[in-house]
């Protein structure tokens, strides 16, 4: 089978064999995928052919796994951001704490302002996760987030 024509585009035959599940070696499938990954014309032809083909049904758990993976990734990204913010706060706190010229008023060793910020982080984390879930469900009213 000639998978590519003389201009380097996919032949009709190649696209048919791909969508019909005909014989293709792994290397041939890799070559088709490499071409479809950048060629708009051939991707459009492939998409048109797919529209005429009965599509396969993924296992029912697939959608739930997608949701779980998105949530996990989003939480990871959020945690990274919080860790970076925490590191920045730690630097500032250390600087203020150790600077001899700055006198921090304190009673009994408590720094209520910073302590409050640190305590409220888990709540803010929860709120962001709620927003992520909201986006998944297409909820219009996302509160407290950066929506502009």
């Amino acid at each position: 089978m000639n998978a590519f024509d003389k201009h380097g585009h996919l032949t009709e035959e190649a696209l048919r064999v791909l969508t019909d599940g005909g014989p293709l070696t792994e290397l041939e499938r890799l070559e088709l995928a490499e071409h479809l990954s950048y060629c708009d014309g051939c991707l459009e032809r492939y998409a048109t052919l797919l529209a005429e083909t009965p599509l396969m049904e993924p296992p029912p758990r697939c959608k739930e796994n997608i949701r779980r993976r998105i949530r996990r990734r989003a939480a990871g990204l959020l945690l990274n951001r919080c860790t970076a913010a925490a590191a920045a706060v730690a630097v500032v706190v250390t600087a203020v704490w150790t600077a001899p010229a700055v006198s921090v008023p304190h009673s009994g060793g408590e720094r209520p302002v910073i302590g409050e910020v640190l305590r409220s982080w888990p709540e803010r984390l929860d709120r962001r996760l709620e927003q992520i879930t909201g986006l998944w469900a297409g909820r219009d009213n996302i509160q407290g987030g950066h929506t502009s």
């Binding site: 998978a3 890799l30 479809l36 986006l135 998944w136 996302i142 929506t147």
Partner: protein, 171 residues
Amino acid sequence: MDRRREPSFERLVDQYQRLVYTVCYQMVRDVQTAEDLTQETFLSAYLHLADCPAGYERQWLARIAVNKAKDYLLSAYSRRTVLPGDEEMPPGPPEPSTEETALSRCGEAELRRQILALREPYGSVLRLHLLEERTPEETALALGRPMKTVHTQIARGKRLLREQLKGGADP
């Protein structure tokens, strides 16, 4: 990014998961891998949702799916084929290039004939790169292919050429 205007991602999954799964399966031909690649496709789509051109969700998702399948097939192919090839090569530098080895074995005319006979998508790449001595960048530009793809095709094309020449030179 205005998240309030985004359509529900869940709806996007509902509408296109069969398409994405079918594309992945047609490429890798294994249900378990196809399912995994389907999930990866939607995860990428979610993270880059702002890049999706309005009204082209179908093509956009099909392309991400094709890319995921391509990466999977490429790593599977490299694991199997590149390592044995490397073992055949003599250890230590410097290593003569494919074209030098080929030239010394069969002469320029034969090499030229073999390059011209090389199948697509490698023939056009190696004609420009080896016969017209264009750089990979120039070759990519001339053919309208991404640089990364051209680099892969040059490497794989040379390997095919070497096999072709070996076959011809050692009857």
